[in-house]
Structures are given as structure tokens and as C-alpha cells.
Symmetry: C2
Subunit: 247 residues, 2 copies
């Protein structure tokens, strides 16, 4: 098996160098062979390289510098617009204006995104996912002219790596895997699973820097706060309504 | 680049042969290196091989024979249960009982699923995604004992291929890709994009067999019907409430 799976790291700094058009096409083509529900292919990929557009997208992604510094920004969208248009043009009435269909299309988009990332990394490119896509989907819709039936679900910046960061930690496999059925975690298991993460120097540094008592508090009180999650949940549900996936 | 990306096909028939435990572990480990939001790893993988459990899962997946015939069934779940337990054990109050957090966790689960599939296919294994997971998430929760905070988002059957089916068609890359911004489809583009698909012998057969006039009607009237989509949307939204991701 390609060892890139095990040695990969997210890349946030890129060389000032284009991605050859034929290489980019090959990577995206690899993505299009990914499984999709009923072979409907209800997703779209927006390939943005234009400096002006990248500058417009940057604040939506909390001004993470990857957006303007990467040669290519890929926005993966749940897309029933194309399929609905085809149906209507063929005397068929589409019934995809509902939450299940949004999930179907989001799943298509996300699986394709990950194949594109695996293929890109195999070619030596570096990628970074931007989780901010679901936070500010409304603004991305406006900037990228996404029509009714289209919702952005994730964004990936791609470029030639200009850094080799340390590989981040992961929980051990047994922490995320369950045999046969789900075995719920005892407090001893939780201690065991998170111990190594909690003892890392970088994480101890984050606790001190934020004047917190535990690493978990850095997540709940600083990085992923309840009030923000609730605010962005409301916005995202509004987007699903506006784009036609909720009554 | 590994040519498997381009030659892959979904495999629905498997040899009656186990997947070696160390190979399965290697594939799942490859999955765990996938990007996850804030390195929170808010997903779980349920690895089911038990005959009795597979028989219980089969009707949930509309009795598709892969569920009982594949040596391994992988259920990928959005999972905030483990993370929430860790927070509470560390004097931190988690704020992940909302829709945005469900999407965050679903994205983690789906990206991991696709790396697992790419790694499995690279090793010669065959995979099939089961879209029925979002239809009957409530029943999967009961069968696999998924606690509050856990929602299954996709299922993959994995095994050694006992068939080499024809590769299915895909729309041309330009049909799913947009340069810079979204360019909405004209009716001429829709005709052009779907022409090859509509002229395939297998698809012409589906039209005749179902007494329909167009291939699009096979989708809207037979395969993915509005009434079903609305019924399963309601069920899925109920699941999100029950598992704590909706007020």
C-alpha cells in the first residue's frame, strides 16, 4: 500500500508555483471515479485560482492564509441543480427538495473530495481542509454564484508543499474502532485513550497559553464554543432552506 | 499515480474468504490519518463480521446480499459521544448538541470512510457503499447499540472480489467541474452532458423494463422517489433529535 497514507500531514504553506493543468485534471478525474449514490453524481467541484476570488473567499474562511497562498482552492458542493434540470428537461418531476437528498448529495461531494486529496498527496501535493465551509456556506454561495440546489460542504486548498510540519497525533486505532457493535467508553478507557494527547508538549502549551486547566477546556471554551456552534447551526439550516433542501 | 483510481468498480459479489486481521487493521489505520476537524476525530468505525449481526443489518439495507455475503461490514458513524465524555471528565462543558456539530462529525466519518475504501482497493479488495444507512439510521442505532451522540452516516461492505463487473459510466469531468465560479447549465449543456448516459444499452433497458419514457423518469418514479425521500428525511431528522444533534 502507498505509504503516503501513513506519512501524510496537512500542508498550510505552499510554494509560489502553479499546479500543472494536466496534473490537476488527472487528480480531479480520479475523484470522479469515486462511488456516488445510484451513480447520480450529485456534486460539483469549483476550481478557483483567480486572485480576486480567492481574496473574496479568504474572510469567509476566517482569513486562513492558505486560501490566498494556495494556487488552487477547491470548493466541493452538494449539487442537485444539474440533476434536477436534467429531470425537468426529460419530463420527470424531481423529488429532491428535502433533507435526505441534501445528505445524499453531501455524501457524494465528501467522498469525491477525499479521493481527490488522496490522489493529490500521492502526486506530492499538499492539501488542507477548511471546516469553515459549513460555517459560512451562505457567503460562499454568493461569492461563487451557487444556484438553488447547491450547497458547499467542504473546501480544500491544494499546492506544492513549502513546509514539512510535524505529523500530528492521532488516537490509537482501538479508540475509534468498535468490534461487532459499539462498546461504550468507561471513564478508565477515556483516560487511557486521551492520555498521550494530553501529555504532548504542544497541547500543554495550549492549556497554559489560554489559561485553562485542561486540554478539553481549550476545545470547549476557545476553539469550538457552544455559542458559535449554535450560531452557525442556525445559519446552516437557513442555507438548507434557501437552497431548497428543507421545507 | 496508483491506477486503481481509474480502473475501480464497485464490487457486490465476494469470495467466501476472510480478510486477514492485520490487513484490515492496516487499512483502517490508513483511514485514521485522514484530516479531521481540529483533530477532534469525532467519528467511529464499527467493524461487523458476526453472522447474526449481519443478518440483523440486512433488512435495514433493503436485503442487499452484500451485507451477509461480505466478510466485513463497516459502519461509519458521526460520533461526539467519546469526545463529550472526555470533556465532561476534564471539567469542560461540551457544546456539540447542534446541527453544525453533526455535520462536522459526519464530514470526519465520510472522509475517513473514503480513505479506507481507497486503501482497501489498493490492496485488491472490493468495496460497496450502502446509501441505505441514512434511510434507516434509527434501526442501525438499535442493532449496533449506538449511544446518544452517535449517528451512522454510511456503510461499506468489504471483501475479496468474486466478480469483475463492467465499469459504470461517469459524466465527463467538465460536467461536474466549474472554473473559478459556478456556471449554471443551459438546456444545451444538459443535453450534451447526459447524452452518452442516455444512449447506453443498459439504461435503454431500464427505461423499457419500467415502462418509462426517459431515463430521468426511472430515477424520479422508480429508484429515488419524492415520497420515499420525504419519508426518510423525516426519519433522519428524528434520529438527529434522538441522538442529540437538534433542539
Amino acid at each position: 500500500m502507498n505509504s503516503k497514507y501513513f506519512t501524510r500531514r496537512t500542508i498550510r504553506k505552499y510554494e509560489n508555483r502553479e499546479i500543472d493543468a494536466s496534473l490537476l485534471e488527472k487528480i480531479l478525474l480520479a475523484g470522479t471515479r469515486t462511488s456516488t449514490t445510484g451513480n447520480m453524481q450529485v456534486y460539483s467541484i469549483i476550481v478557483t485560482s483567480d486572485e480576486g476570488l480567492k481574496r473574496q473567499l479568504a474572510p469567509v474562511h476566517f482569513n486562513q492564509p492558505m486560501v490566498t497562498e494556495a494556487p488552487v482552492v477547491l470548493t466541493f458542493c452538494a449539487d442537485f441543480n444539474r440533476f434536477n434540470k436534467w429531470c425537468r428537461q426529460r419530463d420527470a418531476e424531481p423529488g429532491y427538495d428535502n433533507f435526505l437528498s441534501f445528505m445524499t448529495a453531501a455524501i457524494d461531494a465528501l467522498l469525491v473530495a477525499q479521493t481527490v486529496c488522496n490522489a493529490a498527496e500521492e502526486e506530492g501535493l499538499g492539501i488542507c481542509y477548511l471546516g469553515t465551509t459549513t460555517y459560512n456556506a451562505d457567503k460562499i454561495i454568493d461569492i461563487l454564484d451557487l444556484p438553488h440546489g447547491v450547497v458547499p460542504v467542504t473546501t480544500v486548498t491544494v499546492g506544492w508543499p513549502a513546509e514539512i510540519p510535524e505529523q500530528v497525533d492521532r488516537l490509537p486505532l482501538y479508540a475509534v474502532m468498535h468490534r461487532e457493535k459499539y462498546s461504550d467508553y468507561t471513564s478508565e478507557m477515556i483516560d487511557d485513550i486521551y492520555r498521550a494527547k494530553e501529555l504532548r508538549q504542544d497541547n500543554l502549551g495550549f492549556i497554559a497559553e489560554n489559561s485553562k486547566n485542561t486540554l478539553a477546556q481549550v476545545f470547549t471554551d476557545v476553539r469550538y464554543k457552544k455559542a458559535d456552534n449554535e450560531f452557525f447551526s442556525g445559519k446552516l439550516l437557513e442555507v438548507l432552506k434557501r437552497q431548497g433542501f428543507m421545507p
